[in-house]
């Protein structure tokens, strides 16, 4: 009991002494100040004018990609979009019927992407679309007989299949013209398949693997459809008019293949809706000189056994000249420019997508500064991660490299939330249009003009 009492007495003593030793934050701030620790880091801005790229280059990833969700066919902005359907047949009755029939016909039914065509953002005067579309239809047909053959088709992984499409070598191909009519949001585009394909299939008896490719390199626009993974998947119909019967087959996957039809190989053109990018590289010396003039210190930092942490970049933005007349767009909406930088990761250069900090007052008055096809004559992109990394490691003579590409069309260019959100009235406010604009934007002239880098620099140097 005495021990318990002693422990409680001890606790009481300590609690009372804790009251005596109370903390006063104002006093503590004074102590921090005496130790040379400020209440906040000093921050200054620095503008580096007249930067011109050391190099600039566009890249287009033309590797086939899956189109199981949304599919695109046609040509826009000097990019052609092909579709490939992967279909497996295992139906001896069908092949027997096909062999007997001399009037069988086949066609693909593609369901247009109604949320896109029915959107208020899609130009209303564009519908109905009635035109003749010149198509190239090519195919590869592999004969099989057993269920294991069909199963083996499904066993081919998507990546392997996509990879095989890069070396597409058709068994046969036919050029044809089909009449297109897209008049309402639930339109079906019917594409007749050549009789040569059915003739080839008549030679089969039980199973086959059909890879069917549609190309429309002469098209004046792109057409958007639901993909094989949606509820409105495309269908291959084979009709037997005399027998008044038909068979329906579904592609179990689809691929999208783009190819660049730009005639100017030196132009710095970005396209919407495809995986392309513009990579711009800047020499480090002008930035180092500006920093050196600003701080009066040596840049790049060569002292000590390490890299530069005397200051850090809180925010950095590059401003380019912009001339929208050098581009075309389908929808007439502003389009965001997405930006990334090349930063170091364990000794390797990796591309890191940049964060975007909102300058709300500027956005409210003039709109987001990172858009093309919008009022104004400049494009401002934030490259904070890149500049932070670049200044930190500049001692090795590295360059500053950034990447940009076209993002989604912007429905509310002056909305500072910059993401779709629910309003106080519980409505969804869409800031972005959720379909890419197959636009084309030429940055060639912009990259020839000097750009400006603005840095917000946090500094931990002491007073000199």
């Amino acid at each position: 009991m005495k021990k318990i009492f002693a422990v409680y007495l001890l606790l009481l003593t300590l609690v009372l002494s804790a009251c005596i030793f109370d903390s006063d934050e104002t006093v503590m701030a004074g102590w921090l100040s005496d130790q040379g620790i400020p209440g906040g880091y000093s921050v200054q801005t620095l503008s580096v004018e007249n930067l011109t790229p050391l190099s600039s280059e566009v890249f287009l990833d033309s590797a086939p990609s899956l189109a199981n969700d949304r599919a695109v066919l046609g040509k826009a902005a000097n990019i052609s979009h092909d579709l490939v359907f992967d279909i497996a047949f295992y139906d001896s009755v069908f092949f027997a019927d096909l062999k007997k029939s001399d009037s069988a016909t086949a066609y693909m039914a593609l369901y247009v992407l109604s949320p896109f065509y029915s959107s208020k953002s899609y130009p209303s005067d564009s519908l109905p679309l009635k035109e003749d579309l010149t198509l190239n239809i090519s195919w590869k047909l592999d004969k099989g007989a057993s269920k294991s053959f069909v199963d083996s088709i499904g066993d081919i992984s998507d990546s392997l299949w996509l990879s095989s499409l890069s070396k597409w070598k058709a068994d046969s191909s036919v050029d044809t013209t089909v009449s297109i009519s897209v008049s309402a949001k639930d339109s079906v585009m019917k594409i007749s398949l050549p009789s040569a394909l059915l003739t080839a299939m008549k030679k089969l008896s039980r199973a086959c693997h059909l890879q069917l490719r549609l190309s429309a390199p002469e098209a004046v626009r792109t057409y958007r459809f639901y993909g094989a993974g949606t509820s409105q998947y495309p269908k291959l119909w084979v009709s037997f008019p005399k027998e008044k019967s038909y068979s329906e087959y579904d592609p179990f996957r689809m691929a999208h293949i783009v190819s660049n039809k730009e005639s100017c190989s030196d132009c710095l053109v970005l396209h919407g809706g495809v995986y392309d990018s513009l990579v711009v590289e800047y020499e480090g010396a002008p930035i180092m000189k500006a920093l050196s003039d600003f701080y009066g210190d040596e840049f790049p930092y060569m002292a000590d056994d390490g890299d530069d942490v005397r200051q850090t970049v809180v925010l950095a933005q590059m401003t380019f000249a912009r001339d929208d007349s050098q581009g075309t767009s389908e929808l007439g909406l502003p389009i965001q420019v997405v930006v990334g930088s090349y930063t170091d990761s364990a000794g390797k250069s990796v591309r890191q997508m940049e964060a975007y900090k909102l300058n709300k007052s500027l956005i409210a008055s003039k709109g987001h500064p990172n858009m093309v096809f919008y009022e104004g004559d400049s494009l401002t992109l934030q490259v904070t991660y890149g500049l932070r990394d670049f200044i930190n490691r500049a001692r090795d003579g590295r360059t500053f490299k950034m990447m940009m590409r076209l993002g989604y069309p912007v429905l509310q260019p002056k909305d500072s939330s910059y993401s779709d959100h629910v309003t106080s009235k519980k409505d969804t406010s869409y800031v972005f249009f959720s379909h890419f604009d197959h636009a084309r934007y030429d940055f060639s002239s912009a990259m020839k003009q000097p750009s400006t880098l603005k840095l917000w620099l946090a500094n931990k140097r002491g007073d000199k």
Binding site: G306, A458, K460
Partner: protein, 412 residues
């Protein structure tokens, strides 16, 4: 025991100690920070006996022990910083040491300690009227030593023993100062870019001894019928603190740090002490330890207007203590079995113009009949920082030590 742990746990939420020398080495845990020694004002390095345990300054002491002793210590310290009438308090809990000594009869005695010899500990948040972000300052630096020791009584003159210990240094150091921007230098149209942009000045590193695995202490002990003496010498050594400096927005930043090593030349230390026993169980004791710092200590520094060096002075401890040993007889009244301690000390810190004056009161409460003791000590005093940027400190410390005595390896 449960209640003691609960008390410790409750106090662990508040957290400590001196902020003098934070950027240099921090606060020294004198004499291993043992609760029993602290209770008598850090005096008593020369006092022998099974209830004393291992001494990091006098490795020759436990040559006279007959029992295995395990000892663990806790420290709770509250400090009030004062300057021109202003004051604020910080507090902390730490475990400065634990020790094990193992007598081997005619083969001498071995010991092993883990000692937090220097520590910088601080974790505080300060509101700043200039922006919405608080300034957070955090120090977590510990120079830990693993100290194996060996001692034996001399063959002919059995009242004398010699001992030696090796101090293997290790530990980590970390300093983090997080703050928001001071936008006074920005135009109003530029402030959006730094809103809520907290940045941390972050330094971390490790401690070791340069070019050597350890530094060493050698000691000579005399145990007389009434008087005991010891003398010890600790070798000079160079502490190496390899540091990475960063200035970052978050822990996910992949910025490469600036690497820097600081070397701290720790001079040799001489220590001596005596203990005089009178009226059977009463002891008076006096200890002195001195280390002649002759070079400035390079600070972690590196940021803002923090000082780059800490100027040093001769570091000296003068300690005077009294102890009334508890009765070893279990059937004696409990209060007669309790050990009572009293002491005071004067210490000049290694930091220039910093002096400490303290007093303490302690007691050792026997638990059960097997020799386990709970040592408690209260300490109070003042540190005077007469120059530089240091503030005076009034401190109140509470130490708890648990001492277990056993007969492992002994035959009757």
């Amino acid at each position: 025991m449960k209640k003691i742990i609960l008390v410790l746990f409750a106090l662990a939420v508040c957290s400590f100690a001196s902020v003098i020398g934070l950027d240099a080495l921090g606060e020294e845990q004198v004499a291993g920070g043992m609760a029993s020694t602290a209770g008598r004002g850090y005096a008593g390095g020369a006092k022998t006996g099974d209830a004393e345990g291992l001494s990091v300054l006098n490795p020759a002491r436990n040559a006279f022990d007959t029992k295995v002793v395990f000892n663990v210590n806790f420290l709770i310290e509250m400090v009030s910083l004062e300057n021109h009438g202003d004051n604020f308090g910080v507090n902390n809990i730490t475990m400065p040491s634990f020790n094990l000594s193992f007598p081997m009869g005619g083969f001498g005695a071995m010991g092993l300690s883990l000692w937090q010899s220097y520590a910088s500990n601080l974790n505080e948040e300060v509101s700043n009227g200039k922006n919405s972000l608080e300034t957070t300052i955090e120090y977590q630096s510990s120079v830990y030593e693993i100290v194996p020791s060996y001692t034996f009584r001399l063959p002919v003159i059995r009242n004398f023993s010699v001992g030696a210990s090796a101090h293997v240094v290790m530990g980590n150091s970390m300093r983090k100062i997080s703050m928001g921007p001071n936008t006074e230098g920005l135009s109003s149209e530029d402030t959006w870019a730094v809103s809520n942009a907290e940045i941390s000045d972050y330094v971390d590193g490790t401690w070791e001894i340069k070019n050597h695995p350890a530094y060493y202490t050698a000691a000579l002990q005399y145990r007389g019928h009434q008087s005991s003496f010891y003398f010890s010498y600790t070798t000079p050594h160079t502490l190496l603190n390899e540091l990475d400096y960063n200035f970052r927005m978050s822990e996910l930043d992949t910025l490469a740090p600036t690497k820097r090593s600081r070397e701290i030349d720790v001079p040799a230390m001489l220590a001596a002490g005596m203990n005089f026993r009178f009226m059977k169980r009463n002891n008076v004791m006096f200890d002195i330890a001195a280390r002649g710092w002759d070079k400035d200590i390079e600070n972690i520094g590196g940021s803002f207007n923090m000082e780059s060096v800490t100027e040093t002075q001769k570091d000296m401890l003068l300690a005077l203590g009294f102890q009334r040993d508890g009765s070893p007889m279990f059937y004696d009244p409990y209060l007669d079995r309790v050990t009572y301690r009293l002491g005071g000390w004067y210490k000049t810190w290694y930091v220039k113009d910093v002096y400490e004056l303290g007093g303490s009161l302690g007691a050792g409460f026997p638990l059960g009949r097997k020799g386990t003791t709970l040592d408690l000590s209260f300490q109070g005093g003042k540190r005077f920082a007469d120059s530089g940027r240091g503030w005076d400190e009034i401190f109140l410390g509470f130490r708890i030590g648990l001492m277990g005595v056993g007969n492992w390896g002994q035959t009757r």
